[in-house]
Symmetry: C2
Subunit: 207 residues, 2 copies
Amino acid sequence: MSEIHYPAGIRPPKNNGDTLLKKQTKKPKSIASQKKIAPGNRGMAFEAAINESNAYYQEKGLCLVTKRPTPIKVVRVDYTKGPKITDAFYETQSTTDYNGVYEGHYIDFEAKETQSATSFPLANIPLQQIEHLEGVLAQGGIAFFLIRFAKKGEVFLLPASFLCSFYREKPRASIPYATFLEKGYPVKEGYHPRVDYLPVLIEAFAL
Amino acid sequence: MSEIHYPAGIRPPKNNGDTLLKKQTKKPKSIASQKKIAPGNRGMAFEAAINESNAYYQEKGLCLVTKRPTPIKVVRVDYTKGPKITDAFYETQSTTDYNGVYEGHYIDFEAKETQSATSFPLANIPLQQIEHLEGVLAQGGIAFFLIRFAKKGEVFLLPASFLCSFYREKPRASIPYATFLEKGYPVKEGYHPRVDYLPVLIEAFAL
């Protein structure tokens, strides 16, 4: 979701020490608790909202999309306790965060949130995600981005075909908000599902 | 791959101490080095062979299949060094290890190896993988298992529709080898790709 792939629930350090993480829960946070999330953590709230939406779609049998686990490079394991991992570090996701199936079609997407009100900086996207999505497109898969403008509270589905071309040609270092109005598809945010992207996806790709 | 999901390169403990893992390489192992792998580690060799085959297919533009990272539950992170994970443990994969796209079709599979020469024990498969694959089938995805009989040196593609029914009805606690000859599709093992499952998949599902 963010440039550094912390898994959901892991926050940037507040002190420079060893941080014991709170127990993670898969339940979506209440709207009240969302409002307390500091701006820097909103990317994680967006990720949680997409995970909740995927769970909703799965429960209703509408589509099946899973989040790839954050890849972790394990350096040391203590087998006397479990096994327990005692030394490891986060690796960059070499693909996208989400993929799945809708009526037989392969679906692949990445979700990003930006704090900019005017444009989406391409620096948010690692080259390997572009390469992965180009591979998906070459295999006839459905590939897109879900991009949230946090300050506007607006989410767009942007086809990967457009974003990958823009990335390669780089007419600008960021995609203007106005381009989203032209090339993207607005996605409604609500209560349940919180990011209702499936009807938009069906329309955008004429499925 | 095995009942406990150690990621590739992590071996069960030989001593009961803290084990520093060797640097992992994504290069496929040479045939000579494969022969040195102890029987208990053959599951990992099979996983490596499938990863190599997927890399081969991707390079040739034939299909795009990725391995989901092993999910790891992070308990403690030391932000003074990186961030560096200092306490974590392996979680069970709630889906399958592999999914991807072939000519727009969603593909999802699990790879397993058995040391039994006579049957494949269902105890090798967690219930959540069955549930996941049933979800994939309900969405019109292509779902199967690649199962290797280590002692025979034979690999079969077995459609998930058959295996899930067998699992639910449980006429036996394991699927006899003879049933693989009847319901499965033999997959050739070779040098490059090492597990050439794509043509078998195309034939089995009439793609």
